[in-house]
């Protein structure tokens, strides 16, 4: 036993000691997107995210002509079902020898993939799911959380809106894990910033089409801010009815928990005018972001969602770590990722926290601008505030993550 361990240690150390040569499993770095390719979230992830990952791989190879290996990218559909995600993740790691699973929208599938990744000691960088559990209760050695999470959304929007004068709040949330989690954190942020919750938040059925009950309740409560934690089609319904009942005209502002570009497109930006949300990125944030967006647009035909941009950044960050580690061995790549600080067109002032594998970065509070102020199709947001990386995410002191070390696994 002892000798074999020494032997393994020697074998592992040998390549590094003798030749600083790239060591790849199967001679290639294989990246797999496991995400919603056809369903409700495919507009924000799906085929656009695949293109984005391919662009990242191409750019990496062009920039690193001396990189001795190949990089391949595939995409697999998890159909938003946790059991399918588990099966597919196993298959990808086992049969297709995937080194990294990334993207993934949907919190339930994220937790499933994180668990498989840990069992197989591979790598998972989640960009599309919001649940803060990935870097808290359910954190693990092999999983990283990129782009955004519920804490960042709630904390950012709740704090910024309250500080800018929206002192009284009434909120509604969809009655499942994502919504409950988001509401709890938003409420905490509002109260911490000196705001007041005027009535207990209401849980709405999920999915749901008719929110008029709650809109009318808001109308009679007259808070300064009506907060909605709904996402996707539910959010579109809420905003449609918020306008229909004329809440904005009655001086009741709108704060949105999770807002994607496609939600704005679904109603037209005038319906959202003045609404506040927090995003990790938007396409015309700065020149670098816009330049990248023009390339993406040319390939895909529409503007990227922040998840699609995050996938490019995550893939690049991963490949960069492989280059620095000179191997795709998960242990060494994880070591190269941990504590790494970087900047790219997506992530500003980013650091990969070693303690909980949260990738922290600057995030932005945005207000939706009216259509007449838009310079082109998709010009939705005005930046109203920047929350710095260190303030945007769960402080480590509050993190519930107990990261198992390699030794104890």
């Amino acid at each position: 036993m002892k000798t074999s361990r020494i032997l393994i240690a020697l074998l592992c150390a040998a390549p590094a000691a003798f030749a600083q040569k790239l060591q790849l499993s199967g001679d290639a770095v294989k990246i797999g997107l496991l995400t919603d390719m056809n369903g409700v979230y495919s507009a924000i992830s799906g085929p656009g995210a695949l293109k984005s990952a391919e662009m990242a791989a191409d750019d990496f190879m062009k920039a690193n002509k001396d990189f001795a290996g190949k990089v391949s990218v595939i995409a697999v559909d998890h159909q938003n079902k946790a059991d399918i995600a588990t099966n597919k993740a196993n298959e990808m790691f086992e049969r297709q020898e995937i080194d990294l699973i990334t993207d993934n929208v949907n919190s339930a599938t994220a937790l499933a993939i994180a668990s498989v990744t840990q069992q197989r000691n591979k790598l998972f960088i989640n960009t599309g799911a919001g649940t803060s559990q990935l870097t808290n209760e359910n954190c693990n050695h092999n999983t990283f959380h990129y782009a955004y999470d519920n804490y960042m959304l709630a904390n950012g929007t709740g704090t910024a809106v309250t500080k800018q004068g929206g002192k009284t709040w009434y909120m509604i949330y969809p009655n499942y894990a994502f919504g409950q989690n988001l509401e709890r954190q938003m409420r905490a942020a509002v109260e911490k910033a000196g705001g007041k919750i005027v009535a207990p938040s209401d849980a709405t059925p999920f999915p749901n089409t008719d929110f008029s009950t709650f809109i009318l309740k808001a109308q009679s409560l007259k808070p300064q801010i009506f907060g909605t934690m709904q996402a996707g089609a539910d959010l579109v319904n809420v905003v449609k009815q918020y306008n229909e009942f004329g809440l904005k005209k009655q001086g009741i502002g709108l704060a949105i928990g999770l807002l994607f570009e496609s939600d704005v497109a679904a109603l037209g930006q005038d319906a959202y005018e003045g609404a506040t949300a927090t995003v990790p990125w938007f396409w015309n944030l700065d020149k670098k972001a816009t330049d990248w967006t023009r390339r993406f647009e040319k390939e895909v035909g529409h503007k990227p969602s922040f998840d699609q941009a995050a996938v490019y950044s995550a893939v690049t960050t991963y490949l960069d770590a492989v280059k620095r580690a000179k191997t795709d061995d998960p242990e060494k790549v994880i070591a190269a990722l941990e504590g790494h600080g970087f900047n790219d067109f997506f992530a500003h002032n980013a650091t990969i926290r070693k303690e909980d594998h949260r990738v922290i970065l600057d995030v932005y509070q945005v207000k939706v601008k009216p259509k007449k102020d838009a310079k082109e199709e998709g010009d939705y947001y005005t930046k109203i505030n920047t929350t710095s990386a260190k303030d945007a995410f769960t402080p480590l002191s509050e993190s519930k993550c107990k990261m198992a070390t390699t030794a104890s696994r």
Binding site: P205, P207, D210, S212, T213, S220, E244, A266
Partner: protein, 291 residues
């Protein structure tokens, strides 16, 4: 909870009920005559909304013309489906029809998704009905009152035609005894097609009217069809009056439920369905013998 809030919720419920009623009315008419459980009804409703959106987008056709054009288009699609596909399955057990219409639902949904994508599309309601109307106890969006009105009018007319006119008599005769009806020189198969087309048309109208207030996306019908089936079961399969009354009743019940205790609102429908099935299997308004 004060009476004012209850009244507001009743009106809210009537709006939802208006959609349930229109959809379940179509289902009931089709089931009553053809014995088909038309699972594709939700997809036809969604098509109504999307056709309105598409002709607005391409040709600048507004809400009012769309309210005529889109339902007729959906009705024609219904006629084509009946002639080409459903017709072939009348002699086999009902499960085959269910499978066929379920498959059609998937095809229609995915077809729309391929063209327009999965996320919602914007659709503006008519400007004339943009404001709010004073009901004495609250200001209520005028468009929603319009929806309630149109639904009651359509349901009432349909009931009247089927129960009180000669056309209705023929339709009922085709249902009761096709063989004898044929012997009177009436082309039963033509009437069957017409009825299916009419059911589809009602779904189309509901779809267009839903477009300004609900999210216009490929799955909008899938979300609604389950509730609608529950309404039909509660009302009594094939009972026209039952479907309409139950549609409005369920709408109001859910609205009041969601004001009292939101988490239970959608479950209420199914609790009611279970109770009705236990105590009165043929439905609240159904015939004594369950079909």
């Amino acid at each position: 909870m004060n009476w004012q809030l209850v009244l507001i919720q009743v009106f809210n419920g009537l709006v939802n009920g208006a959609f349930y009623a229109l959809l379940s009315l179509g289902l009931a008419v089709i089931f009553g005559m053809l014995g088909i459980v038309n699972f594709a009804h939700g997809a036809l409703y969604m098509l109504g909304a999307f056709i309105a959106y598409a002709i607005g987008e391409r040709f600048g056709i507004g809400f009012w013309p769309a309210l005529i054009v889109a339902p007729i288009a959906v009705g024609i699609i219904g006629v084509v489906l009946e002639r080409l596909l459903l017709r072939r399955l009348y002699d086999v057990p009902a499960a085959y029809n269910l499978l066929l219409t379920f498959g059609l639902t998937l095809l229609i949904q995915d077809g729309v998704r391929v063209i327009y994508g999965i996320s919602g599309q914007p659709y503006a309601g008519p400007a004339q009905l943009g404001g709010a109307t004073n009901l004495g106890f609250t200001y209520f969006p005028t468009y929603r009152l319009f929806v309630i009105g149109v639904s009651i009018l359509l349901c009432g007319t349909t009931w009247f035609i089927i129960e009180r006119t000669r056309v209705g008599a023929v339709v009922r005769a085709c249902t009761e005894n096709p063989t004898v009806t044929r012997a009177f020189g009436i082309d039963v198969s033509l009437w069957v097609t017409a009825v299916f087309g009419f059911g589809a048309l009602l779904a189309g109208i509901a779809g267009v009217m839903a477009a300004p207030i609900y999210s216009v996306d490929p799955l909008m019908g899938a979300d609604l069809i389950v509730t609608t089936f529950a309404v039909v079961v509660i009302g009594g399969l094939g009972s026209i009056l039952g479907s309409v009354m139950t549609g409005f009743m369920v709408g109001v019940l859910v609205a009041i439920g969601s004001a009292v205790y939101p988490p239970i609102a959608n479950t209420l429908i199914f609790i009611l369905m279970a109770l009705v099935l236990l105590l009165r299997p043929s439905g609240l308004f159904g015939l004594a013998e369950a079909r």
